[in-house]
Symmetry: C2
Subunit: 275 residues, 2 copies
């Protein structure tokens, strides 16, 4: 098991939380105009309630160099022991993926990264080679158009099923370093159950709770492994923009607490509470 | 027809060139240790020989903020009239893709961008909404593992065939703004011919000439449209690292000239020379 997954398990157990908070700063939605300051306040208010933070690269890059500097400050502001999952959906041919992996894991210092599987195994391997980091492979995403290609029926290695299941099966085959996770949207709970049945106890990032309308209870029920763990239920806008006023950090804490406790109530119902 | 494609056609005609030079700086391979200076020298030596430049985002990001500043300087150094195709393989759900599109087209000022289709139409549309810019959708890539998912047989909209052909068919369906191109590797000339038969006169970016071993003649024959145009034959390392010495810019020019003329010789043989 990779150092990343140990870190993730430890953070989840310490905070009794499967909640991942997405740090997707948008200057037009933020109550203050400083991304790093905004994120530091959100992190300070929620770091005892989460198992991970997930900054989305696009929102930092859109603001140019100052935005990327704010991403660096954000990653530095996350307390030791809470993993940072950089959501950047990277992937390219081998030497290019090596450069992307260097950027994510060395230059920016992320503990884990989302990657796109479309280019196949050799495009993902350079990320997997960082055995102490986590690599979350897109399987079935939360957006409305995700079915267009991901649900097409394929026959891979003799098993017929939708493309996203073939991606999940391949991810299992690629997992020599024990550091792969999957991404499945909270908007598609049936597909989440299918992926969980394929990947055993690998971690699954489940975005789409909150603003995207994903179903929290179904995400927990269908997403957890046999021990009721190893899922990252991710909410972004509903937490960080819970208030547009000066009380944004307190409001973010209240919403994160509500989500964490709703997840934990579902774990209780399933007979898998925290010890 | 989008302003990007007009610009691409004009640059190709003016320079009598279907050659795209990839600007993939690697400090360990460069004869000097300043990325912006290196690229400025390459651009000054080749800008009358190319139809476009293609900086690969990963190689800049790997060097952190200074690398991204060097990308900005590189884009600024490309003469007006030569399009810059930023190779970053972006794609995500709607509001995130909007942020990526803002970054590529507004913040960094690219004329075109490569995007990954795995998340479907709504993940690509925010890029297409920039109607004056080009959007190159990955279809069949040049890396060894590209067949793993891209060649899986699917049945989309009643037509059965490999996934990459379904992506090409969808790209045609998405092309309301006339600004889509495709990406097909030079290492797979048969697949290039298939994509060309699907996409009419849409531009196709063909990476993989040179260091990756793609076949130049087959790429030209199978890649061009009915007029012998609309393909971007892309070489990176074989041009920019043609010499590791102080003559790197002259050597890059010589190799770019050789490739341009080899492409043009093939166009002559096909009866489609420049006027």
């Amino acid at each position: 098991m990779s150092a990343f997954i140990e870190q993730l398990d430890a953070a989840a157990a310490r905070n009794r939380s499967l909640l991942c908070v997405g740090l997707d700063p948008s200057l037009s939605a933020m109550p203050i105009d400083n991304i790093a300051e905004f994120n530091r306040a959100i992190i300070a208010a929620t770091s005892d309630l989460v198992c991970a933070y997930k900054p989305q690269w696009a929102f930092y890059e859109a603001e140019g160099i100052p935005g990327i500097e704010a991403l660096q400050a954000t990653i530095e502001a996350v307390p030791d022991g809470i993993p940072v999952l950089l959501d950047a959906k990277r992937g390219d041919m081998d030497n290019t993926s090596r450069a992307y992996a260097k950027a994510a894991f060395e230059t920016w210092g992320a503990d884990a990264l989302t990657v796109n599987p479309y280019q196949g195994h050799d495009a993902v391997q350079p990320f997997l080679d960082y055995a102490d980091r986590g690599v979350f492979v897109l399987a079935r995403t939360s957006n409305p158009g995700s079915a267009e290609f991901q649900d097409l029926r394929v026959r891979g290695n003799g098993v017929e099923g939708p493309l996203y299941e073939e991606v999940a099966r391949q991810a299992v085959a690629w997992n020599d370093n024990g550091n792969i996770g999957l991404v499945v949207g909270a908007t598609v709970p049936d597909e989440l159950a299918r992926v969980r049945s394929i990947v055993g106890s690998m971690p699954i990032l489940v975005p789409g709770i909150g603003a995207q309308g994903g179903d929290l209870e179904a995400s927990v029920q269908n997403g957890v492994d046999q021990n009721g763990r190893r899922v990252l239920i991710s909410a972004s806008r509903s937490v960080i923009y819970a208030s547009k006023g000066g009380d944004f950090a307190e409001a973010a804490r209240a919403e994160a607490l509500r989500l964490r406790d709703a997840i934990n109530a579902e774990l209780e119902r399933m007979g898998k509470p925290w010890p």
